[in-house]
């Protein structure tokens, strides 16, 4: 058992947990006690020794207090071309005074919405960090999109993070959309400096019948940031959920992204790019649960790894016995740019139904030398040639982003990283 679960380390978090959501917190604590934070050889975390990382990097296992954020900081952190509403967070705490009032959407502090069924989507039994968050989060945000509402402009969740003493930031987000509602969320975090901190984030999304939800996220935090996120979505029949996740920076990042298809003709899409350098470690664990017939899931993750970076992809697809006529597709492709970069990729399909269409595949390779020579032979320098090829590799994922300004922003970040504009 890890030292973190011996309670003295996380005692600070437990001691400072607010009194509200008492039964929900208790459930979280019980689940945490039962599981303990993942030990070094824990199957689900075997390539990502997050507990060890926390023990060595996080000095103060107590909640990071909000730091002061100015409207100028908000303005300068919003990407060019963004046209939408902004919800601002400081160390996980929602700041209503700096946030937009969104027409047609109910936004509140979670502490004002104590009847919210926290933990009913992102279940604390499934992951120790989800349990830790549930037991000890400070406050969070409640977002409700009413039935039939089409929210034309995207909603940006803009999180500022700074912890001078290596503290813990635990955002808690609850999103529910009524039947036939349509909404796009963008999730960006900004590190205010390069100091270490630990983000343990939980986002729960409940999509109503025939609702359409996009969740776009960019992880481009400081080089010392440690992050575990549990983002879990339930969608009902005829609904569609699309996640696009771009990971660029951080120390050690673990994303647990889970999607439960609870109604027929629902569609879930999970797309991602991890473009890593230095010693950044990014682990994407995805989980799709097909519980009913006639649903579809598509998954495409692409990794580009330079220097001593490390990528992990684990894609679980469950197709339950009742889930006949399921279409489930999964693909993970990786390009290693250095001898020291590592990727571990594992598709994991469990299919109990007998009339389904499922496919999966993963590749790990290098840049195509012949293609590189071809491009160079037309007068393009090697760096740009590599950039062109890598950008093309990532392009298949980028084109899944429907919002043009967000797509351009993502493209700009990728081109900047690849060191070339074209």
């Amino acid at each position: 058992m890890s030292t973190l679960t011996k309670q003295d380390t996380i005692q600070g978090l437990l001691a400072s947990a607010p009194a509200n959501f008492s039964s929900i917190r208790l459930k979280g604590k019980e689940c945490l006690d039962k599981q303990g934070l993942p030990a070094l050889k824990a199957e689900e975390y075997k390539f990502t020794p997050i507990t060890k990382k926390l023990e060595t990097s996080i000095s103060s296992f107590s909640p990071a207090l909000p730091v002061s954020i100015s409207p100028e900081m908000v303005n300068s952190s919003v990407f060019k071309g963004f046209d939408g509403d902004i919800l601002v967070f400081s160390n996980g705490n929602y700041l209503p005074e700096l946030s937009s009032k969104i027409a047609g959407v109910e936004v509140a502090l979670l502490s004002e919405k104590e009847s919210t069924a926290l933990g009913s989507v992102a279940k604390p039994e499934k992951d120790a960090f989800a349990a830790l968050n549930q037991a000890t989060f400070q406050d969070g945000i409640f977002i409700s999109v009413p039935k039939k509402a089409k929210i034309e402009k995207p909603i940006l969740l803009l999180s500022f993070c700074q912890s001078n003493e290596g503290q813990v930031i635990q955002p808690r987000v609850w999103i529910e959309t009524g039947d036939f509602a349509e909404v796009t969320f963008m999730d960006l975090s900004v590190s205010l400096d390069d100091s270490a901190y630990f983000v343990n984030k939980v986002v729960e999304i409940k999509g109503g019948i025939n609702s359409q939800i996009n969740y776009y996220r960019i992880q481009n935090e400081g080089k010392s940031a440690i992050e575990v996120s549990n983002i879990e979505t339930d969608i009902q029949r005829d609904a569609k959920f699309t996640s696009v996740n771009l990971s660029l920076s951080g120390d050690m990042v673990r994303n647990n992204l889970s999607l439960n298809l609870l109604g027929s003709n629902s569609e879930g899409n999970m797309y991602g790019i991890y473009l890593l350098n230095g010693k950044t470690h990014v682990d994407n664990h995805t989980n799709v649960d097909h519980t009913i017939p006639h649903a579809e899931s598509n998954e495409l993750y692409k990794g580009i790894l330079a220097d001593q970076s490390r990528g992990v992809f684990n894609g679980k697809i469950f197709v339950r016995q009742d889930a006949q006529k399921t279409n489930a597709f999964q693909q993970n492709n990786n390009i290693l740019l250095s001898e020291d970069a590592i990727v571990n990729t594992k598709p994991q399909l469990e299919i109990w139904a007998d009339d389904v269409k499922c496919s999966h595949g993963c590749t790990v390779g290098q840049l195509d030398e012949e293609a590189l020579f071809y491009i160079q032979s037309r007068g393009i320098d090697q760096l740009t040639a590599k950039g062109l090829l890598l950008y093309a590799f990532a392009g298949e994922v980028l084109e899944k982003i429907e919002d043009e300004s967000f797509r351009d922003y993502a493209i700009g970040l990728i081109q900047e990283r690849l060191g070339s504009k074209f």
Partner: protein, 253 residues
């Protein structure tokens, strides 16, 4: 313009070129012919700078500069163009973006202003007409899903855009039907001038009916074993390569 002296090259330790000597002057068209495996494509690749070939001896001077010391992109910027035998399909890279990046890097190297989008497009239109290439092809990913003929035509189109001083066509004719061959050759001929030179690497004489060479060289076992005029190509067409092989092999015994 181009002076190749005693060029030796090998792949993974196996010698392929064993002492090539060739002088190409501005305004000339040279055809390099020879049986399979004689080193024709290797010569083209070495000139363009393909990495897997190791030059073990000799030198290549292009317009007064040591060509072999340059990176592939610098050779292109200096004015060398290789039309690939097997053009590479590059999914996700648009032909237009690719060419614009290439052209502007070449122009920058030559001290010219970059072309803006409008000028670039009008240049593209002009050159497209030259090789009768369809705009639709160029809005797709580079060479992706192109037929063999379309790929070869795209090579000549790129050549037209980059305006090289020395063009090396590596088996550009292979696999083309007569109509496509005419279009490709026509494009090449229109691009010729007294300031440029062309090296045509081919297995078949047929291409030389359309791109008429000033000199024909026969490559065998990594050396130029015979040089002549276009009549030599016709003779090869009629008699095959065996008589040359015999001549060379008996002489070396």
């Amino acid at each position: 313009m181009l002076s190749i002296k005693n060029l030796h090259a090998s792949v993974e330790g196996t010698p392929i070129l064993r002492g090539i000597n060739l002088e190409v002057k501005a305004g000339e068209v040279h055809a390099i012919m020879g049986p399979n495996g004689s080193g024709k494509s290797t010569l083209a690749s070495v000139l363009a700078g393909r990495e897997e070939y190791e030059v073990t001896e000799g030198e290549v001077i292009f317009q007064g500069k040591e060509l072999l010391e340059m990176a592939p992109e610098d050779r292109a910027r200096e004015g060398v163009f290789l039309a690939f035998q097997y053009p590479v399909e590059i999914p996700g890279v648009s032909s237009t973006n690719f060419l614009r990046t290439a052209l502007n890097q070449v122009r920058e190297y030559r001290g010219q202003e970059p072309l803006d989008a409008v000028k670039f497009l009008s240049l593209m239109k002009e050159k497209m007409a030259l090789v009768e290439i369809d705009q639709k092809l160029l809005s797709r990913s580079l060479n992706e899903g192109f037929s063999g003929g379309e790929k070869k035509r795209n090579e000549i189109f790129q050549m037209a855009m980059l305006e090289p001083t020395l063009s090396i066509l590596d088996e550009t004719d292979s696999g083309l039907d007569i109509d496509a061959l005419k279009i490709v050759s026509n494009g090449v001929n229109k691009l010729k001038s007294d300031k440029t030179a062309t090296i045509v690497v081919t297995h078949y004489q047929r291409l030389l009916d359309y791109i008429v060479p000033d000199y024909v060289h026969v490559l065998y076992k990594g050396r130029i074993v015979k040089s002549g005029t276009k009549e030599l190509a016709l003779e090869l067409e009629e008699k095959g390569y065996d008589w040359i092989k015999e001549e060379v092999d008996s002489a070396t015994v």
